[in-house]
Symmetry: C2
Subunit: 339 residues, 2 copies
Amino acid sequence: MANSIGQGIFQFTKPISIIGSAAIGGAKEGEGPMSAYFDRICKDSYFGQTTWEQAEGALQQETVALALEKAGLQPEQLDAILAGDLVNQCTSSSYGLRGLELPFLGIYGACSTMSEGLLLASILTDSGAGSHFAAATSSHFSTAERQFRFPLSYGAQRTPTAQWTCTAAGAAVLSAMPQAGAPRVTGGCIGFIRDLGVTDANHMGAAMAPAAADTYARWFQATGTKPNDYDAIVTGDLGIIGSELFCDLLMKQGYDAVNVHQDCGAKMFDPETQDTHAGGSGCGCAGSLLCGYFLKQLEHGTMRRILFAATGALLSPMLVQQGESIPSISHLVELQADV
Amino acid sequence: MANSIGQGIFQFTKPISIIGSAAIGGAKEGEGPMSAYFDRICKDSYFGQTTWEQAEGALQQETVALALEKAGLQPEQLDAILAGDLVNQCTSSSYGLRGLELPFLGIYGACSTMSEGLLLASILTDSGAGSHFAAATSSHFSTAERQFRFPLSYGAQRTPTAQWTCTAAGAAVLSAMPQAGAPRVTGGCIGFIRDLGVTDANHMGAAMAPAAADTYARWFQATGTKPNDYDAIVTGDLGIIGSELFCDLLMKQGYDAVNVHQDCGAKMFDPETQDTHAGGSGCGCAGSLLCGYFLKQLEHGTMRRILFAATGALLSPMLVQQGESIPSISHLVELQADV
């Protein structure tokens, strides 16, 4: 059972074990500071396929298959997978995973997908509706650039606030049976849609920072905790500029997060050598660093209690063309080491 | 708690009450045989907005607000809403609902969204993570036509197998406290992605029928029931042609559903007078007929036990252009009257 501790905020009576996880990255991600934490790096941006959309599907499928293998499960032992991505109609997930023969629940949270999926998968696992559920997501630089920005062949110049969509995927498998040593989901917070009127689609960090700060403030208030009670409070892909805004916004609500905040977008690339401007972005950015880096820290005991809140900008190019601002969202899960 | 009775299939120990629901339709839906079951008909296809995308958002927001009103709840009493739609990046849901100030979980199941949302909302309600959750979806003829088919101003001729995307929305509110007389969710079945190789995006019923038949056959096998044990076994928007295929496919698995099968797409329009070819489609088709028609039958006792399985084609125009076939999915919920 879960206990409600506020609107859309809950803690589990019995934590849910994450018994397997996997992260796969592309060539550029493999050249960055997080390189060692990926299970695999694929240097072919087509992943052996003929289109980038198929490539992202193959990337997500391979990541899920690896997470299942690490969990010691066959696909028929999984009661469902929750997955989503940025490509129109979430086809990287549906086309990518159709070959795995799994009950499938499509979700859309833009770059907040990993925490939305993990939150829902943990509730499903806790409910008794099945014994194993999984969450997965992916992004691909080339599918996202041409869909949200410009055809790649234009070679358009990127603004200083722009972020670089990661080619990466993450997948995590949850079990209703506790597993010794496995990281555990202990609670969660469903985000509100926040829209402070940012209209610049090349400044996503600014659009998403208010949603992340709002979700964190709600969690801290409901639980009576503060940032320093955690080994890390993680955001998805606010990037370098959005991270500063996030810390400023939390500080205004009385929470000093500067020393414990880590942003996946800011961690993914080396700003000195990789020319990625404000940092990484995309569903696969937070997805792969959760599954590749943070869950390993909890397994190894180098971190014991963290909060993970991926962040999503819920825009579409058409709505931005129609003059709309960019609503954003951030869902949070609390994760603890089994030590 | 829920009890697992098969891969991705469950029954609740304690049923979940649907304490409020609403359905709103557009002008054409208001001229069809289901007219009397909508709470409101809006004859302005712009719903007072300036673009069709904004119109669909306004339609969804109004439907959710009405469902909350009928449930006797303020938005701050809802722990989260699960919503999705067909527009790229599900913006009818995110832009439409941002003004309601609610924890929001985006889902993507194409036209299966209503049953996916209801299934997940019932699990969340059962979990104790909150006391009230809701599910909603919408579609709009003009947003879907120009995104998936042709610009409306082309006046393109429609094929005989084509369906007409409904301008409609449905929303349902669930409560952890049982309510006398309210319809109840008693179980569910998460669908597999099925793809039998259909590549004609104007023949959705054929693409989706195998997914619906597969989900129903899994449910009947897991529960030991058969179609005639229910007052209706409902599909989402297979339309007139897809419905025949669905019954044929189920018959091949030993289940005769002909007398109890009802398809929302086939019910929505009058084929003699409304020129909608194979029938209605769109997330709002099944969403509005569940919330407007079928839940009322359960409230009034004219039906006592039904299965509702909305059906989604998980294609994108880009993947179809790349020569891909159309994967489909169907999620099922069991609904019973409180009598």
